[in-house]
Amino acid sequence: MKLFIPNLLANGEAGFWFPSQGSTVAESVDSVYFFILYVCTFFFVLIVGLMVLFMIKYRHRPGVEAEKTVTHNLTLELSWSVIPTLLTIVMFWIGFTSYLDMRTPPASSYEIDVVAKKWSWAFKYPNGWIESELHIPKGEDVTLTMASDDVIHSLWIPAFRTKMDVVPGRYTQEWFNATKAGTYPLMCAEYCGQKHSEMVTNVVVHETRGDFDKWLQVASDIHKNKTPVEAGEYFYKSRGCIQCHSLDGVPKNGPSFKELFGKERKFTDGTSTIADANYIRQSILEPQSKIVDGFRPIMPTFKGQLTDQDISAIIAFIKSQK
């Protein structure tokens, strides 16, 4: 719901109270805010004005006693109960309708999955690319489907005037339609521990859908943009290796990658081999063929999911874990 309430200090641009309006709901949130602000300012001036007036006019003077006045007046008391009630009903109503707009994701929108964890954001685009910054096209409905890996976080983009908690154990949604190209801060608003205040990243709004698609294509062409070790690290994190293979030497479901490359591996069938590029490639594509002693045969195959170039990058990454 849009109210045509002027913001005396700014309009659309960053003002005294708000950062600049970056989404379609921002204008209605701001106008609800200014409606309440003007009502409150009126009552505040009334209350403090009367108080100061009485303080001056009825201050104690020697020999002058307080005047006896009526001790209650039903009409007066009812009027200052009913008028504020009516005003709060208006406030409730405009806040409620704007809220419904911002909490009802449009039927068809561009969908991005979000995973929040201590203390970073992972935005997963429809083509599978994962980025720690949020990129979106201007003028298009975007819906975030959010999950948390650990504790409660909350995704807030002040310029968009929208916020939603990210709760472990359930999905929450947040949607917006950006109105202006540019870069805006995105932060975690729910206290989540040591680096809560550093869980801040950017929303980059691209001018057109074409610009956005081009960015996504370039960004997700990983082998062109990154060194093999960086690309390997990306796969390590985004394809789930990280769940079972640590980098610190502590075995989880699978052996740690620390100092793995070039070492001898003993298998459950009694054989052994040196962990070289061919061994790692075989373990990724046919994980059940050689099971390291002391571990269960639970790794899924990545055949058809990773190209040889991807696997080379992973090998380079494992090799770098000295």
Binding site: F16, F18, P19, V25, V29, V32, Y33, F43, F44, V48, L50, M51, F54, M55, Y58, R59, H60, V64, E65, A66, V70, T71, H72, N73, E77, W80, P84, T88, M91, F92, I94, G95, F96, S98, Y99, L100, M102, R103, D150, V151, I152, S154, W156, P158, A159, R161, K163, M164, V167, P168, G169, T172, M187, A189, Y191, C192, G193, Q194, H196, S197
Partner: protein, 572 residues
């Protein structure tokens, strides 16, 4: 020295007894304090405990604000910062504001105001003080045993996973809860059974109505906090799966449980302060309170509505839209009784004879600060604006205006208003008012900039922040320094008065309620014989007496013998 009235004095027919023995000096030695059953001594011990906690929490606040002078490190790292804001919040909430007015001031004043000898259950009263001490000791233990970094709200699953002393602190909260419940129960029974002849419900001073409403919340809501705390302890210790999503629990359930107590608790903090202000404004304006019944009813209305609005803390938590809408609508209902009170206080001042005593200055500061605190609540009750403002500095500013600015300023008003009664000494009004001005200016300088920070995009509980917010943070920190110094000055003025202050008359301000009829400080059992209660706001029933240096009942003024009837239950 005020004149001591003895039997040779022609005006010795005062019912006010000037005597050398009072509750402070009637018995000596530490045992006479630690095992006392006198509500006034128990109240004094609470007041000392609350004051120490206030300065401990205040030192944390000053350190936090110092850290925020710059986005980079000033004094401490993020871990220390997170522990400090948690302890600041937990100490100020559980050890200062919740027991401040009801347990400390209420304990001292409630029975005297009722014309009673003591509370209904004096032993239970002493017991609840020791429970409070015990609970406070657990908090101190938590500080020593690795701190606490969950925020005072203990939100799961963070509070399940953090390595800090969550269990110790929760046990402290649990014990403090019992203290609070016992105090509430004691007050309810006292008010029901020990009102003196002539004091009907609607002749009861409004401070007692406020304490009564507060006590209702204390005994109905606090058990929920206790159980929630225990569930969290069990969850941490045995991994049952109540709140932990990895075990099939629901973290949002914790928030429902927590706020089901903690929202009503906000009214435990503010209602007694409102009661204080009703007394202070009436007495120091020398006017009958305006709209007595509306103020009394509004206290009860706030207590009842306070139970129905907890979900407004959870508009962005993932609860359903329908629930959010219902909670938003009910939340507005709380604002109406609050507005009624403010207008009633203003009208009470109309055509009064306002004396700017320190207590009155705090009363006026309360109206100013509470208006801002209450009105900014409207932005947070409104759904669309709350989504943007939730968990930002706007919320920090709002609840400090209500909890610190209003509840604590109410406590300060209460302390100054009843200080002559409590200590038997007059404090220095000049320095008292300077401290009040400092508190008022320091407070507003600290917290007003935070509204702007919040709307502009500064989240709460941030150790570091975007550089554009630094200017406002510096302002806020300067305000905090002023506020801290002024609070210390206030404490200094009061403590000085105990040693060097003028002896206080029974009724220095001209109040008409019963506590002003006994001597200052009151004798051990408050009254020789049960006083006759009339309308507590007929200020004409007392007049200033030069000789006494305070107010005396009209019938005791020699020349006014004929106006005896005006004192008691005359309707105005």
């Amino acid at each position: 020295m005020a004149t001591v009235v003895d039997s040779s004095n022609p005006k010795s027919n005062f019912p006010i007894q000037y005597r050398e023995l009072n509750y402070l000096n009637c018995s000596k030695g530490w045992k006479s304090w630690f095992f006392t059953l006198d509500h006034k001594r128990i109240g004094i011990m609470y007041l000392i405990g609350v004051t120490c906690s206030f300065f401990l929490g205040g030192i944390f606040a000053v350190l936090l604000r110092t850290e925020l002078l710059s986005p980079s490190k000033v004094l401490m790292g993020p871990d220390a910062y997170n522990q400090m804001f948690t302890l600041h919040g937990a100490i100020m909430t559980f050890l200062v504001i919740i027991p401040g007015v009801p347990a400390a001031i209420g304990n001292i004043i409630l029975p005297v105001m009722l014309g009673a000898k003591d509370v209904a259950f004096p032993r239970m009263n002493l017991g609840s003080f020791y429970l409070w001490m015990f609970g406070a000791a657990f908090f101190l233990a938590a500080i020593v045993l690795g701190g606490l970094d969950t925020g005072w709200t203990f939100y799961t699953p963070y509070s399940i996973t953090t390595s800090t002393a969550v269990i110790t602190a929760l046990l402290g909260v649990f014990i403090l809860g019992f203290s609070s419940i016992f105090t509430g129960l004691n007050f309810i029974v006292t008010i029901h059974t020990m009102r003196p002849p002539g004091m009907t419900w609607f002749k009861m001073p409004l401070f007692l109505w406020a304490l009564y409403a507060t006590a209702l919340i204390q005994i109905l809501a606090t058990p929920v906090l206790g159980i929630t705390g225990l569930l969290l302890v069990v969850e941490r210790a045995f991994h049952i799966g109540i709140f932990d999503p990895t075990l099939g629990g629901d973290p949002v359930l914790f928030q429902h449980f927590f706020w089901f107590y903690s929202h009503p608790a906000v009214y435990v903090m503010i209602l007694p302060a409102m009661g204080v202000i009703s007394e202070v404004i009436a007495v120091h304006s020398r006017k009958h309170i305006f709209g007595y019944r509306f103020i009394a009813y509004s206290s009860i209305a706030i207590a009842v509505f306070g139970f129905l609005v907890w979900g407004h803390h959870m508009f962005v938590s993932g609860q359903s839209r329908m629930v959010a809408v219902i909670f938003s609508a009910i939340t507005f209902s709380v604002s109406i009784p609050s507005a009624i009170k403010v207008f009633n206080w203003l009208t009470t001042m109309y055509k009064g004879s306002i004396r700017f005593t320190t207590a009155m200055c705090y009363g006026l500061a309360f109206i100013f600060i509470f208006s801002i605190g209450g009105l900014t609540g409207l932005f947070l009750a409104t759904l669309a604006t709350d989504v943007h403002l939730h968990d930002t500095y706007f919320v920090v500013a709002h609840f400090h205006y209500v909890m610190m600015g209003s509840s604590l300023v109410g406590l300060f008003a209460a302390i100054h208003h009843w200080w002559p009664k409590i200590s038997g000494k007059m404090f220095n009004e000049f320095w008292g008012r300077i401290a009040c001005l400092g508190v008022f200016l320091g407070f507003n300088l600290t917290f007003f900039p935070q509204f702007i920070l919040g709307t502009r995009g500064m989240p709460r509980r941030y150790y570091t922040y975007l550089p554009e917010f630094q200017g406002l943070h510096i302002m806020s920190t300067m305000g905090a320094y002023l506020l801290g110094l002024s609070s210390a000055l206030m404490a200094g003025v009061l403590i000085y008065s105990v040693y060097r202050g003028k002896k206080a008359p029974a009724n220095p301000w001209g109040g008409a309620s019963l506590e002003w009829q006994c001597s200052s400080p009151p004798p051990h059992n408050n009254f020789d014989h049960p006083p006759l209660a009339g309308d507590p706001y007929v200020m004409e029933s007392v007049v200033y007496n030069e000789e006494v240096g305070g107010f005396v009942p009209v019938e005791c003024q020699g020349d006014n013998k004929e106006s005896v009837t005006a004192s008691g239950d005359k309707e105005v």
